[in-house]
Symmetry: none
């Protein structure tokens, strides 16, 4: 019956505050002060729950990766065919105005840039990317297999689809106004489908005549 620690909730609040602040200020300009203000906390308390600012950022990367997986799971929950799961993959990330949560998208773009220079961020970022790649490759492989196609290109195709989505996030955050409306989800689906359609048939094991 001891008083419950509220550490987990506080940490979540702080991570969420970083997301919000970072989305329109970037990482360096997201000061502990501004994060604290956003979270309705005091600067000292931030460092009570996190050792450093960098640690909050790492937590945010994991949080966003987790969120992305959850969102896919939700979208895929009613999918029964490989194609439906592929659609779920893409819609989970790109549907509804190129990403349902603009703040999360912008923050992800900022994280991508931080990953360029901060090894620890890069590692967390790469874990997230790996996870996404694995999901995409699996779904794409299923689609290819279902159509009786070769699966040699599943991996590069997954990579290409992921690159497309990352780029769409970037452009949605920094150049939304000049991009065609709603191109992202539609083109992602169509490009992958047409790519798969044009793939050669899988070689039969028994080529007897």
């Amino acid at each position: 019956m001891s008083r419950k620690s509220n550490t987990e909730q506080r940490r979540a609040e702080i991570v969420s505050a970083l997301l919000a602040v970072m989305a329109d200020q970037g990482y360096e300009k997201a000061t502990i002060q501004s994060i604290a203000k956003q979270a309705g906390l005091t600067p000292g308390l931030i460092h009570y729950h996190f050792q450093s600012k960098g640690e909050i950022l790492i937590a945010l990367v994991h949080s966003l990766a987790q969120f992305s997986r959850a969102r896919y799971a939700y979208f895929a929950s009613e999918a029964t065919t490989p194609r439906e799961r592929l659609n779920a993959c893409i819609d989970a990330r790109l549907a509804k105005g190129e990403g349902a949560n603009p703040d999360a998208v912008s923050a992800w773009v900022v994280i991508g840039a931080e990953a360029v220079r901060q090894p620890e961020v890069r590692q967390a970022y790469q874990e997230a990317i790996s996870s996404e790649l694995a999901v995409l490759e699996e779904v794409i492989t299923e689609c290819l297999t279902e159509d009786g196609k070769r699966t040699d290109n599943a991996s590069p195709l997954a990579a290409a689809l992921l690159a497309f989505m990352e780029g769409a996030f970037q452009l949605a955050s920094a150049a939304r106004d000049i991009m065609p409306q709603g191109y992202a989800a539609r083109m992602a689906i169509e490009m992958v489908e047409r790519y798969i359609d044009a793939e050669p048939e899988k070689k039969r094991r028994s080529s007897r005549k």
Copy 2:
């Protein structure tokens, strides 16, 4: 009498130094000190040639955009068919290890993140993106026309190709190790070609008679 101005050269040196420093430190960590050191100049001199750090960044955005156009022009100089020009477009950006100049690619990723929050950077970034989009759309339209296809989707296809390339830059900078080798240029070409191949024929104005 009057001394010859070396401002243009100095500015180019400084912009180049920012590119180098920013590629592995990000924008905020690219201090005037570090830029000066990289360029072999003194901090005071940086501000003699540029009013602010932000102004150097804007100059870098323009410089990279200019460089991209020049690189495409070079690649396209021997292209005679629409398909060759499309290849030139993609190779100019993605060939040879996902972009010939890793520093420029990383810097571009960082610029993309800065464009999220700095209006002036965003404007310069959008100008560059617009220019790229225009080139891609033109080349894609040529390809479609040559094949007798409808051109309705030229714009979203250009947008999709650009998103792909931006995302490939991002992943090349922050997750090179976990991406399939050489997927980018090859997949870009193939996806666009297969998309075009699957496009419906252009409606004939007068089909019978």
Copy 3:
């Protein structure tokens, strides 16, 4: 739990330190470093309690204006006649070596010069001047009324007396050595008195009958 705020005291200390430093260094040379040193604080702490150096200056203007009012109130506390109050007005500002606190006088002169170019300082300065003018005009009007004189010139006379005092501050700060000893308070009193004495009688409402 929560710590007690010492902000008000710290702010007062900082303002007081600015007064001291500014009195012999001017405003621009009163660096945050020197203010901090004078106050026995660190530069960072200065900016914890004040947003900017300019904000300290504004606080100082208000502080000096407040001090002037308090000093007059103290001098006037024993005054019962209009003349005594007039004397209190003048002595509060000019008695004892042209102002009891040389630092405050010098700082006020420096503030006057800053008010020429800094709009925010000018506003605070003008508020202080307005307040002084109002007090002087009221006291002078009382003196005139008591003597049965016209009060038309109360306002310009108050302005003249204030100009005299401001000028006396200036000269006491920058040319004390070459000014006659103790001229200021004595001459201020005498000039105002002789001016009032020479004013025409108030017009009687109904003079005859």
Copy 4:
């Protein structure tokens, strides 16, 4: 027939430029750059003609003192009586909107504040003040003598008049809007005249009867 040195003219131009810039920027903000720009010269040339920025300021003090004397001489040129000369003294400084040249007045106020802390400026300032005092004392003595008054108070009266004028400059520069219109010249004259009128008669050397 050697080429004439244009040093004197250049120096005058530079001093004049400092006056203009200082009038609305103060002394510290009047950078060599801004002075050069105002004068249509280059920064390097400023230091060819003056050893330091401080030297320009000293030259300006002398220039303004000289100007004041010249202006008085001009106003007094047609004065034949002591009273007319007194009027000339006052009008030369305060007539026409409290000083004919607002820039010069503001610059003088700024100089007064600099004199508080810079010994060299203080010396030049005190020379100018001494000179003014001497002129005023002489004219006032003449007026007193003409009226057969004692001249004991000529010195403090001159000091008081000077203080008034300095204060009027200060208030004209920083608080013009809240001061009564045209009070300065009129009140200066009236106060001095009434003061003189109320002075006691000079003691007769031969008091015989």
